[in-house]
Amino acid sequence: MTGTDVAVVVKPDSPAHVKNPRRKRGKYGSISFYFIVPAAVMYLFVVLWPSLQGVAFSFTDWDGLSQVRNFVGFDQFARVFSDPASVGALFHALILAAGITIIQNGIGLLLALGVNSKIKSRNVLRVFLFAPAVITPVAAAYLWQYMLAPTGVVNQILSMLGLGALRQDWLGNPDLALGSIIAIVVWEFAGYSMVIYLAGLQGVPAEVIEASKVDGAGTFRRFWYIVRPHLGPAFTVTLMLSLIGSLKLFDQIQVTTGGGPGYATQTPSTLIYSNIFQFNDFGYGIAIALVLTVFVAAISSVQYYGLTREGK
């Protein structure tokens, strides 16, 4: 793919004036193309080519094993939009994405503002708040499965606080399971967002903060007019990461609920998994994956343009 582009574009830098430094840059432009080759080969082999194959297979009824593949046109895609399970899964992905992105970033930003101050424990707190983000999601999911069980720690704490009436089967109740998963993911990655916001906060010049204090700006106005503009790149990065990550969420759901109870926490990722590995319905599974891809691309590009425009 890149190879053909290069052959055309490199041509203008024909070897003419050797002594001219500009010529050096031309040559540098042509030779340095080869620096892309190793990454391009790996990327092509592992990501791009199999994905294109996958796109082709989504127009077939392939079961993933046999040599027989019948062309079925857009049938699989029609199924995606008519099957209540997959429509529900896409809807769940949206809820997860919205819930996780907003709550995780809100808490992350508050934590960053809290830690980025004169408090003595700030270094220790920073380290501990980020810790859940490095824990293997499968391990964290098992831990939370235990915590959220009917006799689990969360319910015990509620009873200790005199809120026994609020005890729930957090992962077993269809109305609560999705929210419980949001809570698990937020617990894991709020520290991640915090660290990214912290990086942005540390880029705010201390003199400007001091000057604004001298001029009598309150905490909120100082945040809005002085700190916030410095957080542009941090917003872009952490919002994108949490949005894309939550739309594709798999490990936490597979371990804690497996998509259940019923279809309550089924997402495109778990649905793809079961269609491919339990029902051998590969063409359908891949069609769901493609719809998810378009989903992720559309939502994140809207978000990206929204954020970069606001930054300017």
């Binding site: 430094p21 892309i36 996958g54 830690v115 408090i119 707190l125 920073r126 499968v138 520290g191």
Partner: protein
């Protein structure tokens, strides 16, 4: 900044409280892993007679020593490859002003959006045809390609923000592209290389689904897969399971606690692009 006032003290107390709340699950994890299975006290009450038996049993029964080795092998090899190939690719992507360079950059970015399931089965067939199923090499190849787009994105945006004068000076002095990459550009990338390494190590070490697929049925399991089958076997023996979980997350937490300063700094420098 400001002096330590009573407001700061309130803030300090609130922040410590919030952090303790965040820490409850990890407290439960470690606390339970130290309790004997016969100890039926609440998971929240501190262990009175700590025992190492759960750890010894988990270490012996969950296949963790081998899994830790396989995970380390896969992580080190694939992250080293990603750093080199992504750093190299970022050089022309950030510097060449030609159209192909912009197009290639976008082609790499597409990789960030593709769900891994899309490529999964076609690639599975290829890996199977190559006879690499069950081999750590299959995962090293997979991660080298799969982790490339994000690393290229970080490297390229970082390099674009750096002045090109050093390379130009090197080029005028007769330095070829290969040498100017290795001696000028790659050292320039050092701050973001820290970030790239950290993010990739985390992603590769913690990945569950890919090794589940490519290594299943073989003697090689990575840590998350070993934990998965371990919990499947010993479900409801939570003391044992939790000891296994602690062992599985200990290496990454250890590295994190030792390098936390670098890690947090790495995030800061990786973001300036």
């Amino acid at each position: 900044m400001e002096r330590y006032t009573y407001k700061t003290l309130i803030r300090e107390i609130v922040m410590i409280g919030v952090s303790l709340l965040f820490f409850i699950p990890l407290y439960v994890l470690i606390n339970m892993s130290l309790k004997a299975p016969t100890d039926l006290s609440s998971p929240l009450s501190l262990v009175t007679h700590p025992t190492a038996n759960n750890y010894i049993n988990a270490w012996n029964q969950a296949g963790l020593p081998h899994a830790l080795f396989i995970s380390a092998l896969i992580t080190v090899c694939s992250v080293a490859i990603v750093v080199v190939i992504a750093g190299m690719a970022a050089y022309p992507l950030a510097r060449a002003t030609k159209r192909w360079s912009r197009i290639s950059f976008y082609v790499f970015l597409i990789g960030l959006l593709l769900p891994f399931q899309l490529a999964l089965i076609p690639l599975y067939s290829t890996i199977k045809d190559l006879g690499l199923l069950g081999s750590p090499l299959a995962l090293i190849i997979f991660y080298s390609g799969h982790q490339a787009p994000f690393s290229i994105f970080l490297y390229t945006s970082f390099l674009r923000a750096q002045p090109a004068e050093y390379e130009e000076a090197a080029a005028i002095d007769g330095c070829g592209p290969l040498r100017s990459f290795w001696f000028v550009v790659f050292p320039l990338l050092r701050p973001v290389t820290g970030t790239v390494i950290i993010l990739n190590v985390l992603a590769v070490w913690n990945d569950f689904f890919t090794p589940l697929l490519y290594l299943s049925g073989s003697a090689n399991a990575t840590v998350p897969v070993a934990i998965f089958s371990f919990v499947g076997q010993y479900v409801s023996q939570w003391n044992l399971v939790f000891a296994g979980l602690v062992i599985s997350i200990a290496p990454i937490l250890l590295v994190y606690f030792i390098m936390q300063r670098t890690i947090i700094k790495g995030f800061a420098s990786g973001l300036k692009g």
